[in-house]
């Protein structure tokens, strides 16, 4: 009686599963014999096949004619300019960076000033400060309506950045990608809060970042339209 060989490893089973669907399968005879006699390995091969078949059944994106035309137009432009457009892109990046640095500086100055006021007048406001601290943190958080409104403003700004003429420089493409990423983050954060409105961490994160992101997007928008 044949002594059944040890179970093939995961890599071997995967290779076997791949070969099953290959045009010219090269299946090791010993592996095939084992799988034919081993229900566990046969089941594992089936599971692998099912995963692969499902993944490969996902519909693919089809590029639009417009997108193809844009690639060809950009290629023609690149051949004509030979990279000279990049200097304009660099200038745009410098302007945008200056705008963002300015907005960040204003925010930091405001935060420092606010903190300085608290430190300078502890004796006078100690009682009221204690009262503030004693209140539940949720009282200081903006209302859901406020969060929704600011979130909506940000989404609108992000959308505006994509309307009109498509960016022509690498720097503008990058700014758009930042705006897209912000919008994606916000969508996921909003979904998280919708699934669990009581999640304080989600609310704190949204509260802290929403205003900053609105300012940053406004800066990008202003720079983009200069």
């Amino acid at each position: 009686m044949d002594r059944m060989r040890p179970h093939p490893g995961r890599s071997e089973l995967f290779a076997y599963a791949e070969q099953l669907a290959a045009a010219n399968p090269a299946i090791p005879a010993e592996t095939a014999r084992h799988i034919a006699r081993c229900p566990a390995c046969a089941a594992e091969v089936q599971r692998i096949r099912a995963s692969l078949v499902f993944l490969e059944s996902a519909p693919e994106l089809t590029p639009s004619e417009e997108q193809t035309a844009q690639i060809l137009a950009a290629a023609r432009s690149e051949r004509r300019t030979g990279g000279k457009a990049s200097s304009a892109g660099i200038r745009f990046v410098v302007r945008t960076a200056k705008g963002i640095a300015c907005a960040a500086a204003v925010f930091i100055m405001g935060a420092v000033s606010f903190r300085a006021v608290l430190i300078e007048q502890p004796a006078v406001h100690a009682a009221s400060a204690r009262a503030v601290l004693a209140r539940p943190a949720v009282d200081n958080a903006p209302s859901p309506e406020t969060i929704r409104k600011v979130s909506s403003d940000i989404r609108e700004l992000a959308t505006v950045l994509q309307e009109g003429n498509r960016p022509q420089s690498p720097a503008e493409w990058r700014s758009r990608r930042i705006a897209l990423a912000v919008r994606e983050d916000l969508a996921e954060a909003s979904s998280a809060l919708e699934r669990n409105p009581g999640c304080e961490r989600a609310r704190r994160l949204i509260t802290v970042n929403l205003a900053r992101q609105a300012d940053a997007l406004k800066t990008l928008y202003v720079e983009r339209t200069l």
């Binding site: 023609r76 960040a104 990058r174 954060a189 989600a202």
Partner: protein
């Protein structure tokens, strides 16, 4: 008028098929490597043929890597612009697809690096794990399997697959997408990712194993 416009479009499509290189061979019958050499010599028609042949594959590869269609479209354009910029330096030492996807892989890697360097002011959180040591700061978001399932229930299989792929570390995702979804051989994937063939095979196997619990839920709904 409308009929005239339709006839013009049809003529343009058929004339593209009749485009030939200077030897009279239709461009559609030339290999990718030959088209790239023609493009390096200045043939815009050869470049257009390359774009039409390979654009869909590159777009879908990048889409599975970055999970955002608009970003994928922009990065696809960057890939083909890179072909233009490097045309004169092209040498057909390997398959053209290896060359093309190496460019695409590098552009995707730069995009990932940009995302990681992105100031926190623009990012609420790391919503997906590129590194197993990252901690999801939103502890009550709900597990990713639920996200994936919710996407599938909305009928978006492609997005559901994306959500599942998003769970994979980048190196596993790339190997799996290039080999199983783009149909490249292990040897090609090894050349593109600059990894040994054994490592590539191991990554593909590990990727499938990691994806399976998520995909199992889809299949139960199908």
């Amino acid at each position: 008028m409308a009929e005239g416009v339709g006839k013009t479009a049809a003529w343009e499509r058929s004339s593209r098929l009749r485009l030939a290189d200077r030897t009279g061979v239709p461009l559609s019958e030339l290999g990718d490597e030959e088209l790239m050499l023609r493009h390096a010599e200045g043939s815009e028609a050869a470049f257009e043929e390359l774009v039409r042949r390979r654009q869909k594959g590159v777009l879908n590869y990048i889409y599975r890597m970055v999970q955002n269609r608009q970003i994928a479209e922009e990065l696809t354009q960057e890939v083909f612009l890179a072909l233009v910029k490097n045309a004169e330096r092209y040498r057909p030492t390997a398959k053209f697809t290896t060359y093309l996807y190496t460019i695409a892989s590098n552009i995707v890697a730069k995009e990932w690096a940009r995302n990681k360097r992105r100031p926190r002011i623009f990012s609420l959180s790391s919503w997906y794990r590129n590194d197993e040591s990252e901690i999801d700061p939103i502890e009550q978001v709900g597990d990713d399997a639920a996200n994936v399932l919710a996407t599938f229930q909305r009928g978006e299989v492609s997005e559901a697959v994306n959500a599942a792929l998003k769970r994979l570390p980048e190196h596993l995702r790339e190997a799996f997408v290039l080999h199983r979804l783009q149909g490249l051989s292990y040897e090609e994937v090894a050349a593109i990712t600059d990894a040994p063939i054994g490592t590539v095979k191991s990554r593909v196997v590990r990727a499938e194993h990691a994806l399976r619990p998520l995909l199992k839920r889809f299949r139960e709904y199908m």
